[in-house]
Symmetry: C2
Subunit: 323 residues, 2 copies
Amino acid sequence: MSNKIIAIDLGGTSAKMAIITQDGEIQDKWTIDTPIHDEGSHIVPGIIESIKKQLDLYNLTEDDFIGIGMGTPGAVDSESKTVIGAYNLNWKTRQDIGEAFEAAFDLPFFIDNDANVAALGEQWQGAGDQEPDVVMVTLGTGVGAGVVVDGKLVHGKNNAAGEFGHVTIETGPKAIACTCGKKGCLETLSSATGVMHLTRRHAREYEGDSDIKQKIDDGQALSSVDVFNAAKEGDTLAVKIVDEFAKSLGLGVSHLGNILNPARIVLGGGVANAGEFMREQVEAYFMEYTYPQINEKTKIVLATLGNDAGVLGAAQLVNLGVN
Amino acid sequence: MSNKIIAIDLGGTSAKMAIITQDGEIQDKWTIDTPIHDEGSHIVPGIIESIKKQLDLYNLTEDDFIGIGMGTPGAVDSESKTVIGAYNLNWKTRQDIGEAFEAAFDLPFFIDNDANVAALGEQWQGAGDQEPDVVMVTLGTGVGAGVVVDGKLVHGKNNAAGEFGHVTIETGPKAIACTCGKKGCLETLSSATGVMHLTRRHAREYEGDSDIKQKIDDGQALSSVDVFNAAKEGDTLAVKIVDEFAKSLGLGVSHLGNILNPARIVLGGGVANAGEFMREQVEAYFMEYTYPQINEKTKIVLATLGNDAGVLGAAQLVNLGVN
């Protein structure tokens, strides 16, 4: 009986793959390295070969599956199943991923952006509790979001929905220049990079007693993790930095609440490892900035799936696509 | 052949009704007063009676129609087809509108909030150009929005999606208290009321030559229309006020752009009568605050349907509901 899905979560370092049931049970998981040499031309053939081997190993055939789903970096056109500008894969030109998979397997193939796919994974099997309206915010080096409305991903007019890291939080002279060319983006404040910007901003004028300040003055390397850890231990400078991080992110997610009133806003990505300590500070600002009726029902929660969000979301792409 | 729709746009003063084809052609339009006495208990019976008379007049029967659609003020539950808290209709308790219409006509009945229905009208037959993703912002005494994604209205977890007037624009000491209980809402700046707040803010410290300033000092009554007209004629104080109005609204609509990347953001409502003069100033700030890829494709446009947006949106509710 065909009720399984082949799911792929492609990243710059490795490609995670899984065999998942239509109900979201991961039956098998494996990982291969991502060969980015030769303009990334070996990536897709490598994944296809690995899947074929795995099916042979378990005596599975195409008849056991309803489709293949994939999340990938880059600008994805999920209609034409092509990807452009995935620089961490060395894909500089348009890649016809759909054609390659459809030639290799007699199965429907679906593809979307990795941030979108992770959001779909959390909505379906994670912190989203299968609520139809869920937004997942990924806090890493930058900030991105996947927007799920009525159980489906929102793409927008030119596949740029969810450019949440570029919501403008600060205007005026103190706004920090963003890599996108504009100023005051959420990403300049509430990402790993943003924490370092805020550290410089606050350390400059800080005169109290602080380990973080001491380390900066000594020229030691600092990371956003160090700042969150110091804040947890009560370092007064770090507390100020985390407060501004939380205020900026709280304002940003309040816009998601006021516009979409989703059941859940899920915080994920490396910076979300700061956990409940971070979440509750963001939530406090969210409550302050959100229409009362909305903050009764829109909940700020932490992601629960970790690295499995990608393959689970890729599997759900197939469920949505074949139904 | 049944291909017509009965559409109702209920307001505090009058109920607009229309017979509309499935393709959006308005074949007949009429209006009755809204009788709000006796807790608004005569409103729905009056509409039903008026529709029955109109059908008799044109020798039309239920067989000519595919359904009835309605937009109404208040908090609408479009699933249960009930309305609560429509204070301008004197509906203080929960009204079972669906039950009344379904008892009177053997036709499917659909209902939604008036701001949502107007957005659907503009998306379908107006400035939205039938693009699947459109947001309509209504600028009146307050500010509201209807969010259309994939051709359908977004309601959110507790029917509070589109509370766009309560997006937080200002924080800190200068943020103005809003009727919703929080501070710094878009509605305190970029509505008819907001223009008056901004007028007070700027007039206080303004020392140049200005007709608007003169009128305020003379204790004359001023409206937001006066301020926009003065700005068009170059009154320096009015120009400053409209600039801050446009900056606040430009920031607000940039959040819609960065999150949803809709094809169109439609500006409607009484304040949008300031027209192209207002639109282009809002657009300039929108461009400054929006991710470059998004402002290539998300367009800020003026509403085109005027008072017909409500009945057309109500008709489209039926199209979406029966298909």
